[in-house]
Structures are given as C-alpha cells and as structure tokens.
C-alpha cells in the first residue's frame, strides 16, 4: 500500500474516532446543555437540602431554567446555602419561593421555583427568601406515628399505636 494511501486511511481513522467522541458527548451525554446561555446567580437557604446535588436542575412549571452551582453550609444560620444559575431570559419576582421537589417517586431532586406577585424581579446575587426544604422520610414517619398516637389517646383508653 502506498505511503499516501496509508496516511489517508490513518487520517480517516482518527477523524472517525473524533466523530465518535463528538457523537458520544453531544448526543449521548449532557455537553450541549452546558453554559451555552447567559445566566445570573441567585441563592437560597434551606433547612434541609435532602438529596440535592451540584448541577441538579432548577425548574419552574416543570421547565428547566437553570442549574445548582454550589451547595454549602451557612455556619451562622446552620442552613444549607444553595447557589444556582438561572438563564438570563427568565425573570422571577423577588418574592418567588423555592422548593426542593423530587422528580417522580424515586427520582433525582431538583429546585422548583414558584413565581410571586411583586413587580421587582430577582437580580444577580439576590437571595430567595421563601424556601421549603426537602421532605425527609424519617420526619414524615415520626409525624405520622405521633398523630396516630394522639388519635389513639383521644378515642380509646387502649394503649396507643402498636408501634414498636
């Protein structure tokens, strides 16, 4: 095989490899949704962030409008401080609320923003004041058992629950 022929084939092989890499990155992974739009930063404090992770989506009405960029503990107020980036074209009133929700029953957690009623909109660096923490299963079970015990105590003289 001539030298030129070999070089062409090798060049084609390398090109094919890079095309495969581009395919894997764009079509089969999340490269395309990375930082392609301008964004502004907003933060919020939660009592419990649950299973929220960095790069979890931020959604409003189900539509993804941003990503969580960092999560840290605010050591003065002992709350989780979540910083997120929102797309520049989307604006929320300053009294919007942020909740940590779960997509589906066992899915990933994300931040849902519900718009408020004020005229003024959130700007870069603002803090979302109204927040609702993630649902923690143990607290839910505790509440349920406690309310069951309270019901049992009011209705019958029988000992409460059957809880172990």
């Amino acid at each position: 095989m001539s030298k030129k022929g070999i070089e062409t084939l090798v060049g084609l092989f390398v090109l094919l490899g890079f095309a495969g890499l581009v395919f894997l990155s764009l079509k089969a992974a999340n490269l395309a949704s990375f930082g392609t739009r301008d964004s502004y930063t907003v933060s919020a404090r939660f009592d419990n962030i649950g299973g929220l992770k960095e790069r979890s989506p931020v959604r409003s009405a189900g539509v993804t409008v941003g990503r969580v960029t960092s999560i840290s503990l605010d050591s003065k107020m002992f709350q989780g401080l979540v910083t997120m980036e929102l797309d520049k074209g989307v604006e929320f009133p300053v009294d919007s609320s942020a909740k940590i929700l779960t997509s589906g029953l066992l899915g990933d957690q994300y931040i849902g923003i519900e718009p408020g009623y004020e005229e003024k909109v959130l700007a870069s660096g603002d803090v979302i004041r109204q927040t609702q923490s993630a649902v923690v299963l143990e607290n839910l079970i505790g509440q349920f058992l406690f309310s069951k015990a309270a019901e049992g105590g009011d209705a019958d003289p029988q000992p409460a629950g059957g809880k172990k």
Binding site: F13, L16, N30
Partner: protein, 259 residues
C-alpha cells in the same frame, strides 16, 4: 529444604522479571521523542494496529449493543422502566464495556500481531543485526508501535461505545418499541460528559499503555525459537487481559466512588 530453596529462587526470578520489565518500559518511554521525529513510522503503525482492528471492534460493538439492549429490556419490562433502556446501555458501554472489551479485543488482535512480529524479528536475528549497525531498535522499531497503540486504543474504545449505542437504538426503538424521544433524552440528561465519557476515555488510554507495553515486552524478550514465539504470543493475551481486568477494578473504584 529443596522446596524452600526452589520457592526462594522462583520468587527472586519473578521479582527480577518485574524489574526487567520496568526498565524496558522506561527505555520505551525515553525512546518516544525520537520516534515522533520519524512520524512516517508512527503513521504506518497506527494503520497496522488501529485501522486493521476496526472491523472486529465495530462488529463486536454492534453485537454487544444489540445484546445489551435485548437483555436490559427483558430485565426492565417487569418494573415498567423500559424508558431508561438507553441510559443503562449508554452507561454500561461508556463506563465499562467500551474500554474493557475493546482492550481485550485489542490485546487479542493487535497485541498478538505485535508480539509475533517483534518475536519473529528477534528469532530471525533482525534485532541483533540492527544493533550491530548502531541503529537504536527501541526508537526505530518499538517506540513507533507503542505510540501507535497509545493513539489507537482510545479511538477504538470510543468507536466501540458509539457503535454499541447505535446498535442498541436499532434494537430498542425499531424492534422492541421503546420510545425514541425518551431513549435519547433520558440518556442526554443523565450521562455526564466528564464523569462518564471522560473517565471511560482515560481508562482506555491506560489499557492501551498496558496492552501495547506487554505485547512489545513479550515479543522483545521471547526465546528465539518458533515455540518461544508461540508461547510469547499466548502470554501476551493472558497477561494483557488479566492486567486490564485488574486495572479496571482499581480505576473504577477510584473514578466512580460516590461522594
């Protein structure tokens, strides 16, 4: 007493051979810049190692993609979770199967051809003749093949994964009726480029170093007889495969530990 002495001798022999192999690898790396200057040799080796392995890699990738899609479908349909089929096939291929299976095939096809070629050069005294003429065999013969293996292995692993995903698409969407939109969109939202694809490419790069270095070492150190060359060829496949699988475990534990 004899048995203990024998055990000691064997252990020392194994350690000596590890040291010898380490020195060989160091010489190989040191000869790389000189080889890069003769780029034509490197290109010819990339052709021999990479291009000629394309057929088996692409065919195997397609087959593995087909089978993965089928098997995962049967497992997921009991939980009604068939929409995650694309995601599962993608993660299996890109994180594990792509690098590892491509490395095993590479060791079998390209590794054996490298070992046989170098072994026959040694058996036919070509290496000795070159050294007589003060030609540095490491940079003329061995290092171009090493660079060829380093360049080819990641490309082959990527192509394996890509073709596997396309094969899974064909089976899942066209044959089994999984929704095409969900197939791609769930995959796109959950597969991370740097963590999954990037780590997979890094793994395949490490496997390329292992397979090529082992193949070259076995060829270079073979006994200069036909039986010796045959024995060296089988040793290449066995040692490469075991090292790849062992390294895979170590790398996976390092790269994909949660938190």
């Amino acid at each position: 007493m004899n048995a203990i002495a024998l055990l000691g001798a064997r252990t020392l022999e194994v350690l000596r051979s590890f040291g010898h192999a380490a020195f060989f690898f160091a010489d190989l790396v040191r000869a790389m810049p000189a080889a890069m200057r003769r780029f034509g040799l490197v290109v010819a080796q990339i052709h021999a190692i990479g291009n000629l392995s394309l057929v088996i890699i692409l065919a195997s990738g397609l087959a593995v993609g087909f089978v993965l899609a089928l098997q995962m479908y049967y497992a997921l349909v009991t939980y009604g979770a068939t929409e995650s089929l694309g995601l599962i096939v993608n993660l299996s291929l890109v994180r594990e199967l792509g690098p590892v299976v491509a490395a095993l095939l590479f060791a079998g096809r390209a590794g054996t051809s490298l070992t046989a070629e170098i072994g026959l050069m040694k058996a036919g005294e070509q290496i000795a003749a070159m050294e007589m003429m003060a030609v540095d065999t490491k940079s003329r013969v061995l290092a171009p093949r090493f660079i060829g293996g380093l360049v080819s292995m990641p490309l082959l692993a990527i192509l394996f994964s890509a073709v596997g995903i396309l094969g899974a698409y064909v089976v899942a969407v066209l044959l089994l009726g999984v929704d095409a939109g969900n197939f791609w969109s769930i995959m796109q939202s959950r597969v991370d480029v740097w963590r999954d694809v990037g780590n997979g490419v890094l793994k395949s790069f490490v496997f390329g170093i292992i397979c090529t270095a082992v193949a070259l070492y076995q060829g270079y150190e073979t006994q200069a007889t036909p039986e010796g060359v045959a024995y060296a060829t089988t040793r290449t496949v066995v040692i490469s495969s075991l090292s790849v699988l062992g390294m895979d475990f170590v790398l996976t534990a390092l790269m994909f530990s949660t938190g």
